[in-house]
């Protein structure tokens, strides 16, 4: 009997990374507590919904963690190609919701293909650099940039600047870690800087407005600037120690828009103060440090590039969201990882962690 329990426990736990799993559970629990607070402290449908989302995402993480990196590598190209095909499909046949063409109706299910590419792009790039190991040339980087630019461009056209930015950075991290020379990186950066006016010209009005609003939120206090003004008021009024769980006035009274999703940090900051935010950052740092450690110890080019890119993308989410909520970055629709309410984001996040765990737990197998 005891053996059976041990065997079952081992089946469940042997591929899971203990520090990562523990920190994730802790963060999601904090997230659910804040979500409970954002729903007025008396409604349970959102907290319970997030709990259900977490259960699904956790299962997915466990499944992915049990796939070997070799199997993942074999999946890389198919996932990328299917994702790309769907993105093209979106561009041609996608449903328009809220003024953006992001959704694709497959008849039985409606999906947002850009979510697949959050994993698909780093997977494909890591796979590509793995294939080109020991024979990397400048032309390989060009191919990599192309692999990255096509989906990123398609997503930006939807338009979905936030996701495009995140997918672009996830691919960029792979290329950066793969070792593209600084000279090229810097000249690319300069070229990118020079291209900014053209990019500005390509942006949609609402995207431009987000950027001008960032520079001067008070220019449009009831429109685009409202988010930033209200979230900084909430965070600032939280002070050092915060107003206490369920006691935040700005979040409770509906002043913060999207307070359970993208702007949940405003509620968190109001109720738990600077202490809470520093603690939150510390937990995030634990995950990032563990991810970078896994990347460092990974045994193949594919594994280490993928692990590194996933970890850095995770950080990018955090930085963009915190920057946006605290008013130093433009408002782009990026949720706060593991805290914000929402199933899709949580699922793609935990699939990413599943890959990290797979890499961490399978390195000995690969080595032997």
């Amino acid at each position: 009997m005891k053996k059976a329990i041990d065997a079952a426990f081992s089946l469940v736990a042997r591929r899971l990374d203990a520090p990562l799993t523990a920190t994730i559970v802790l963060l999601v629990a904090v997230g659910i507590a804040v979500i409970y607070s954002t729903s007025g402290g008396n409604a349970f449908d959102r907290p319970l919904g997030q709990l259900r989302n977490f259960a699904v995402a956790l299962t997915a993480m466990w499944l992915v963690a049990n796939i070997t990196p070799q199997q993942l590598m074999r999946l890389a190209l198919p996932v990328y190609i299917v994702g790309l095909a769907l993105l093209v499909g979106v561009a041609l046949f996608g449903d328009i919701r809220n003024g953006a063409r992001r959704w694709l109706n497959l008849g039985f299910v409606t999906i947002q293909p850009s979510e697949i590419m959050k994993i698909g792009v780093p997977l494909a790039l890591a796979w590509y650099f793995h294939k080109r190991e020991e024979s990397l040339r400048i032309v390989d980087y060009a191919v990599a940039v192309l692999l990255l630019a096509i989906p990123a461009g398609l997503i930006m056209r939807q338009p979905d600047l936030g996701t495009a930015l995140l997918i672009f950075s996830s691919g960029f991290f792979v290329i950066l870690l793969a070792g593209l020379s600084w000279k090229i990186l810097i000249s690319l950066a300069v070229a990118g800087g020079a291209a900014l006016p053209f990019v500005w010209g390509m942006l949609h009005d609402y995207q431009r407005q987000r950027i001008t609003t960032l520079l001067d939120p008070s220019s449009d206090p009831l429109g685009a600037g409202y988010h930033i003004i209200q979230s900084t008021i909430a965070i600032g009024s939280g002070g050092l120690l915060g107003k206490g769980w369920l006691n935040g006035t700005q979040g409770q009274l509906d002043f913060i828009p999207e307070r359970s999703t993208d702007f949940i940090l405003a509620v968190f900051g109001e109720e738990f103060g600077l202490i809470g935010i520093v603690a939150l950052c510390a937990l995030y740092l634990v995950i990032i440090a563990r991810g970078l450690m896994i990347a460092m110890n990974a045994s193949t080019v594919f594994s280490r590039l993928l692990a590194g890119a996933i970890t850095l993308t995770f950080f990018t989410y955090i930085f963009v969201n915190m920057g946006m909520v605290s008013g130093i970055l433009p408002v782009v629709g990026v949720p706060l990882p593991l805290i914000s309410y929402g199933g899709t984001a949580l699922l793609s996040m935990l699939v990413g962690f599943g890959i990290l765990m797979s890499i961490a737990s399978h390195k000995h197998l690969v080595a032997s």
Binding site: E133, E134, S135, L136, R137, I138, V139, F173, L176, L177, A178, G179, S181, K183, I184, Q230, T232, I233, A234, I235, G236, S237, G238, G239, L240, T249, Q250, L253, D254, F255, G269, G273, L274, I277, V278, C281, L285, I288, A289, L292, A295, M296, V301, R304, L305, G308, L312, F315, F319, M322, G323, S326, G327, I328
Partner: protein, 631 residues
């Protein structure tokens, strides 16, 4: 070489490791940057944002006090409050108001009248004010609107207290009405420094008791600190100071007597003031036609307003206080008192009346109303038959200065001091006055007309009532007033109202007695109001009067049938009853009523019958030609 190629696995790994270290450093730096930002927001700027957050969420909402009730002397409610749902609109928040109102009309009933009234309101108010479009919504309408509320930004259902005047037109001029606060009111409120008191209040007393006792009726506005959400909706109360309801006012008015009085007027225009001669309490104050004060409470619609404002009958004019008429022969009892007091006439002195009187040295005669005259007339008879000739000579003998001094003691030519606004002083002419007004000296002929209440002299029905009360009470001046008691809204204690009166003056009792008994004979057979007094089980002391509307040349005969209704003389009747121990003094003016004895005196009779006997009006035939009739 730009295209650096790495063939060595180890080298590739080293590059990877270096970059990872670099990236880690970058991450740490960026986290420090973020935390720095939060330190700035939450530590450095904490107070600033704390203030903003409090301002965000706390709103001080005024709580409007209940307006005090207005009751008659027997406790009948004359002005009441009731709460009802209204649908209000803030025009500034609505993009296309016309369209929105059309859409609204499909959900709840919005009549053309409502829309016109609303349009008038918009013109009179500011864009950010919340204005009622519909009041008295039914539960079903409230529910129907609530379900469609999202379609109507800027529209809001509110529970509001409304004023209602259950008696409608009855006593409307005395009670007055409340209306929405307009710019002029606002300036007055600001000048009085009552801004805080009127926060949240959108109605104010405009006329009558509602207007003059606004300060008592309004009450003290309370306030509530509420936590509001981003949509401005109140979530919970943080602190509350209760409002204090306005005080109730108990009037001296007897609404049933008032009703009898108004009904007695039938279709006549005119005014009636009935006061208690001992106290000055006003028991009835009529100005016909009246108006329905309920129309004004929520802003009057243009159609009704035009009717009231442009009617040739001027229903909005309070004739009792503001109508200035020549008192005509009703001045005679006072002139008679003056004659006795001044010693210019004795009770026994008689004249032989040929039907006219001539001023020495003047050709043109002053005619008596009765052709051929009244024969031998002493002071007593001059009142009973209303002999003009007697008073022509009397006026000439006493002179205008004595008349002025004496009449002002009875309150003529000055405001009575009644406790509602709008009273006018009438006119008691004097030499000085004429010099100031017309830059002309006073002629003896001017005095003769004044002696029979014509010429320059003008009086309001209210002044006549107050003066009549003095005849009844022994020449003690009284201040007519409508307020009897103020009932404190908190303690319920009643505090009687008190009004200062002019200093009394001496009149010999026997002089007063003589005039009083002559007045009592006016309503007896042989008097000018004999028909009105016929069969009454109590004695009425009175005096009829006729006030000329068009000036007629002396010698021209007044032909009643020829003169159009509007040009007919006004009928007057002053009286008190019972003659022995007066309980009510009444002045009545019927516009274009021709003869006081025929149209005005019967109204007094109906009033006394009800007041003294509790008898509801037995209509007296007023059509017939009365032989004793008038002066």
């Amino acid at each position: 070489m730009i295209g650096q190629t790495l063939r060595n696995r180890e080298a590739e790994f080293i590059v990877f490791r270096n970059r990872l270290v670099l990236v880690s450093l970058a991450i740490v730096v960026l986290f420090v940057l973020l935390v720095g930002r939060f330190v700035y927001l939450q530590v450095v700027m904490r107070d600033h944002y704390h203030t903003l957050a409090e301002a965000n969420r706390i709103s001080v909402v005024p709580i409007v006090p209940n307006r005090g009730l207005i009751l008659d002397r027997n406790g009948a409610v004359l002005a009441a409050n009731y709460s009802a749902y209204t649908l209000e609109v803030t025009p500034g928040k609505v993009q296309n108001l016309e369209q929105a109102l059309d859409d609204l009309g499909q959900i709840i009933e919005v009549s053309p009248r409502d829309r016109r009234r609303f349009k008038k309101l918009i013109e009179e108010s500011r864009n950010f004010e919340s204005l009622p479009i519909r009041s008295r919504l039914s539960e079903i309408e409230v529910a129907r609107f609530a379900a469609n509320r999202y379609r109507f930004p800027g529209f809001e259902i509110r529970a509001r207290l409304f004023r209602q005047y259950p008696y409608g037109e009855i006593a409307s001029h005395a009670i007055g009405f409340i209306g929405r606060i307009n710019d002029a009111d606002l300036k007055r409120i600001e000048a009085a420094g009552s801004n805080a008191k009127y926060k949240g209040t959108d109605h104010i007393g405009k006329l009558g008791i509602e207007g003059s006792y606004e300060a008592e009726l309004h009450g003290v506005t309370g306030s509530e600190q509420v936590e509001i959400d981003a949509g401005g909706r109140a979530i919970r109360s943080l602190a509350r100071s209760e409002p204090v309801s306005g005080n109730n006012l108990v009037l001296s008015l007897d609404i049933n007597l008032q009703k009898v009085a108004e009904e007695a007027f039938a279709d006549h225009r005119g005014a009636l003031v009935a006061i208690d001669p001992k106290t000055g309490e006003v028991l009835a104050l009529v100005s016909k036609p009246g108006f329905d004060p309920n129309l004004f409470v929520d802003g009057i619609d243009p159609a009704n307003w035009d009717v009231l404002n442009n009617s040739p009958d001027t229903p909005l004019n309070n004739r009792a206080l503001r109508g200035q008429y020549p008192p005509g022969s009703t001045i005679k009892p006072f002139m008679a008192l003056l004659a006795l007091e001044s010693g210019k006439r004795t009770p026994d002195y008689s004249i032989s009346d040929p039907g006219y009187w001539t001023l020495p040295g003047v050709q043109r005669p002053f005619r008596d109303w009765k052709q051929g005259g009244h024969g031998s007339v002493n002071l007593y008879r001059s009142i009973v038959v209303s002999c003009d000739t007697y008073f022509y000579g009397l006026a000439n003998d006493v002179g205008i200065d004595a008349i002025y001094r004496f009449m002002t003691q009875f309150g003529f030519g000055g405001k009575t001091g009644i406790d509602i606004d709008g009273e006018v002083p009438g006119l008691q002419p004097s030499q000085e006055w004429k010099m100031q007004r017309f830059k002309q000296k006073w002629y003896s002929g001017d005095t003769i007309s004044v002696g029979i209440g014509q010429g320059y002299v003008l009086a309001t029905p209210l002044q006549l009532a107050a003066a009549t009360a003095m005849v009844a009470n022994g020449a003690i001046p009284v201040t007519p007033h409508l307020l009897r008691e103020i009932q404190d809204s908190r303690s319920g204690a009643r505090r009687p109202a008190s009004f200062k009166a002019r200093a009394p003056f001496n009149i010999k009792p026997e002089h007063l007695k003589l005039v009083q008994s002559a007045m009592a004979d006016v309503t007896r057979p042989g008097g000018t109001a004999a028909r009105a007094g016929a069969g009454a089980p109590y004695a009425i002391a009175g005096k009829t009067g006729t006030a000329q509307v068009v000036a007629m040349k002396q010698g021209e005969k007044y032909d009643e049938k020829r003169v159009k209704e509007r040009l007919r003389d006004h009928a007057l009747f002053i009286s008190y009853a019972p003659a022995g121990e007066p309980r009510l003094a009444v002045a009545i003016l019927v516009e274009n009523g021709s003869h006081g004895g025929a149209t005005a005196a019967p109204i007094a009779r109906e009033l006394y019958d009800y007041f003294l006997l509790g008898k509801l009006p037995v209509r007296i035939n007023r059509a017939g030609g009365d032989i004793e009739e008038s002066d």
